[in-house]
Symmetry: C2
Subunit: 272 residues, 2 copies
């Protein structure tokens, strides 16, 4: 409808308005005209194979990427070679935001399976931004959402036990799969136990053990990378610290307030 004449067939093939992921890439209300402009900057797609890097820390920042299909991890590395997974990404996510700070990516982005992404060259993004206010706003909101999400991860890493971390992790994945139209109760983990462990601040053996425990308690069924959730409520109870308690009673030396407190649970469950 009303195609801009200077959009040729090649760009049309990757047009956002035809993309079945547009609700995820473009969550905020852009008008048709604005979406058309946005399409101008989605120049190409790119495929990367499992194990390959879309970018690495230190690479020049030239583009953001919208994931069309696939599963990836972000990771930073300390000077002594320790790798720390900072997030997992799937279709609909926008990645590369950390490169904006210093015009150089600060993390590695590695495909965990064969992956297809849309390129959003930063130069073009700037040109569009310049004249399009809503786009700029959307972009900023995207960045802020990532900050909020990371707050949730810090809560997880800083104050939760192994069981709570894994329960939160599984529920988070479940919700993200559901948002994308997949089953929320049955899915395949695309990452290894070691990568889950790195993300959650645990060793791979602990991940394996806890998953086995969940399985034994009929919360989930695990077969290697295949996971089926049997008891959502049970998992939620664990995340809230209502199960796997270690000492019986009122441990709350934190503020006893928060009757209708805005809590962080939603932050843990919602990614992009």
């Amino acid at each position: 409808m009303m195609n801009n004449p200077n959009i040729n067939m090649a760009t049309l093939r990757v047009a956002c308005s035809n993309c079945n992921l547009r609700e995820l890439c473009l969550p905020l209300g852009l008008s048709l005209k604005e979406i058309e402009r946005l399409e101008e900057l989605v120049s190409t797609r790119k495929r990367i194979k499992r194990g390959e890097a879309l970018y690495r820390a230190g690479d020049k920042f030239e583009a953001l990427y919208a994931i069309r299909l696939g599963f990836l991890k972000s990771a930073v590395m300390s000077s002594d070679g320790r790798e720390q997974v900072t997030s997992f990404h799937m279709s609909g996510d926008i990645v590369g935001l950390d490169g904006l700070a210093g015009m150089v990516y600060s993390s590695d982005l590695i495909a965990l399976e064969d992956t297809e992404v849309c390129l959003l060259p930063y130069q073009k993004l700037l040109e569009v931004n310049q004249s399009m206010h809503a786009m700029s706003l959307h972009f900023q909101r995207l960045l802020s959402m990532e900050i909020v999400r990371q707050n949730g991860v810090m809560l997880l890493l800083g104050s939760m036990h192994a069981e709570e971390r894994l329960a939160a992790f599984i529920l988070n994945l479940s919700q993200r799969f559901e948002q994308r139209g997949y089953s929320r109760s049955e899915f395949v983990l695309r990452m290894t136990r070691a990568e889950i462990g790195s993300y959650l601040g645990l060793k791979l053996e602990t991940v394996s053990r806890v998953l086995s425990r969940f399985s034994h308690d009929n919360l989930i069924i695990v077969n290697q990378k295949h996971v089926q959730i049997m008891d959502f409520e049970g998992l939620r109870a664990i995340v809230s610290g209502q199960a796997y308690q270690h000492h019986d009673s009122s441990k709350d030396n934190v503020v006893p307030i928060a009757p209708e407190k805005h809590n962080i649970n939603e932050l843990l469950s919602d990614e992009s």
Copy 2:
């Protein structure tokens, strides 16, 4: 110089160009004219007393804040009342960025000492953004820097031992004080042991013990909240995992690459 006539004396008093923190608030090259426009949106200052909140999770997002003087903490809270400190802020930092995502703040911001901030009302920011491209860019970069910083915190929380976390924490504080013109080797902690512990994912007793150990090893001198760094290299060695090793030799089952790898240490040391 060349004062815009519709800037009255009241706004001039808070003008950014007179503010000795401008290098921190405005790290990116804005022209004089652009800075003038920016000043229009710095409407007022606000003072909050120690222990009071600048905002709380759930509050409507209406402004960002530039810290002029003081020390604050950000914290999120889980549904069962656990508080997790996600960052500490000091003069020159811009806070409130997490509110942009949902137009509602997602964390609490509490003053650890009497604090003075500049208000940046979001509505005004939008108006300026609309016509000022550089400002919008600066804003986005600010958001991205926060993401990069949080990656560093996740590395810390996910893969470091208590000694490494505290060494990194002290060096980070030192660097930030130095950037602001204070001594890099001697400063006062404005937060309690419990707050440090929450931020680093440790209990307050562990914080206290590790600080005592550092003191005993002549790395630092601690007297309650007063800290003096005696051995920067020693602390850096601990952060790099070169000390306080727990099993002797080649534990590196991580990739043996990274000869000139872009590492995360800088991320841990540089905040805003």
